[in-house]
């Protein structure tokens, strides 16, 4: 299936295309006589759309010196569109961290505290309340993802317009919004942290190509493969030991 990662059925809200993808895979069961790899012959009908989309919600230019108020202003401006999308779709993907969307103030407080240097060992005191579903430090990644989910669901809800590609969304968030600056500031806290194992998590918060400097995941120690290194530091990242 020649579709972007994250879209194995190709495209949203197109039942006919999705059924064709499934039929093509299932029919191999009736035709193959040995283990077989076959390419799906069609591109996703929405194309890629890179660079066509522009956010229709006007957000103020973010101020680095007032990062918290800039992020809260963005959230306030995006919230009506997010709620409309949630009603229309009957669902939201917000909640990976364990917080609910009515706890968005705590989610923002959490992210701001991390960006300002509260550390990666304990949940920031200002963020008590939500039933957080992950331990530190990896909880930071899911808090970041919930914020991105709110932004993305808000701006992909506009009927009749060309929906943004993932690259459009990344470019918008990381180059135009206060949230992008906040996530980069968290990335900088990770970079400055004493424990280099934390740097892998930076690559779960900032997509490749949007972190200035070395690549988003940081490096792998000499003499280890990526998988060996990742296996060795997983317990630390999910808070099982230090």
């Amino acid at each position: 299936m020649p579709f972007p990662l994250g879209r194995p059925l190709g495209v949203a809200d197109n039942p006919e295309f999705q059924r064709d993808v499934l039929r093509s895979a299932l029919q191999l069961l009736e035709t193959a006589t040995e283990p077989t790899i076959a390419d799906y012959p069609h591109e996703a009908p929405d194309g890629n759309g890179d660079g066509v989309w522009a956010c229709s919600i006007e957000l103020p230019t973010p101020e680095m010196s007032e990062l918290e108020s800039s992020v809260r202003t963005e959230v306030d401006l995006l919230m009506p569109r997010y709620q409309e999308a949630r009603r229309t779709r009957g669902r939201t993907t917000f909640g990976m961290s364990g917080a609910t969307v009515d706890q968005i103030d705590k989610v923002v407080s959490f992210a701001i505290a991390i960006a300002e240097g509260s550390g990666f060992e304990q949940v920031p005191a200002v963020a008590s309340g939500p039933n957080w579903r992950h331990r530190m430090p990896m909880l930071v990644r899911f808090v970041a993802e919930d914020l991105r989910a709110l932004y993305q669901e808000a701006v992909t809800s506009e009927a009749g317009s060309q929906p943004p590609s993932q690259r459009d969304i990344h470019t918008w968030i990381f180059q135009e919004t206060a949230l992008g600056r906040l996530l980069k500031q968290i990335g900088q806290q990770i970079t400055d942290h004493d424990d280099p194992r934390l740097r892998l998590m930076r690559g779960f918060i900032i997509p490749e190509g949007f972190w200035e400097g070395d690549h988003a995941f940081g490096g792998v120690p000499a003499g280890m493969t990526t998988d060996e290194y990742v296996r060795s530091i997983r317990p630390y990242l999910i808070g099982e030991n230090t």
């Binding site: 020649p2 972007p4 990662l5 994250g6 879209r7 194995p8 059925l9 190709g10 495209v11 949203a12 809200d13 039942p15 999705q18 059924r19 499934l22 039929r23 895979a25 299932l26 029919q27 069961l29 009736e30 283990p35 779709r89 009957g90 669902r91 939201t92 993907t93 909640g95 990976m96 364990g98 579903r133 992950h134 990896m138 899911f142 993802e145 989910a149 993305q152 992909t156 929906p163 943004p164 590609s165 993932q166 969304i169 690559g203 779960f204 918060i205 900032i206 997509p207 490749e208 190509g209 690549h215 988003a216 995941f217 493969t225 990526t226 998988d227 990742v230 296996r231 997983r234 999910i238």
Partner: protein
């Protein structure tokens, strides 16, 4: 599977590394793994998603988690969240339509049309970013559950 040329070079390199690891792995089977499947109109099919989907009340997938979660076929999509750790996946379509990663509605339509024999009442979800050889025990457990559910065919939906 996305074309490597459309990935960021670092991500493409990571994928190639995974492929090389698989190539070096050896898999031993007690019997010939190839079988002739039941005809589709007689086959009950279950989905296996690698998108780390789970019910909000289920334990979230943690980084490196090799377990699995059960997803009822009639689940309210609002009850599902995704704990996949990658930030490089396109979530914009999944946020609009669950069927992009877990095509439950499409499978039911194929069953209603008689193109497949039926749909399992339970589907399965794993966190696909973990090395495949670590999933041996989970794969065996899922296979046993599918046998109990009289599932004939597993449709892997890799995110």
């Amino acid at each position: 599977m996305v074309r490597l040329s459309e990935l960021h070079p670092e991500e493409a390199q990571h994928m190639l590394g995974r492929a090389a690891l698989l190539k070096r792995s050896s898999f031993d089977f007690d019997a010939t793994p190839w079988i002739t499947p039941r005809p589709l109109p007689e086959s009950r099919i279950a989905l296996i998603s690698t998108a780390a989907l789970h019910r909000r009340d289920d334990p979230a997938f943690r980084f490196g988690d090799t377990g699995y979660r059960l997803i009822p076929d009639d689940i309210d999509p609002a009850e599902l969240v995704q704990s996949h750790i990658s930030v490089n996946f396109d979530r914009t379509h999944y946020q609009r339509d669950l069927n992009v990663v877990l095509p439950v509605d499409r499978m039911r339509e194929l069953a209603d049309a008689g193109e497949i024999g039926g749909v399992s009442p339970i589907h399965f979800s794993i966190l696909g970013a973990t090395e495949s050889f670590l999933f041996e025990q989970t794969a065996a457990e899922i296979a046993r559950r599918m046998h109990d559910l009289e599932v004939d065919t597993a449709m892997l939906v890799p995110v």
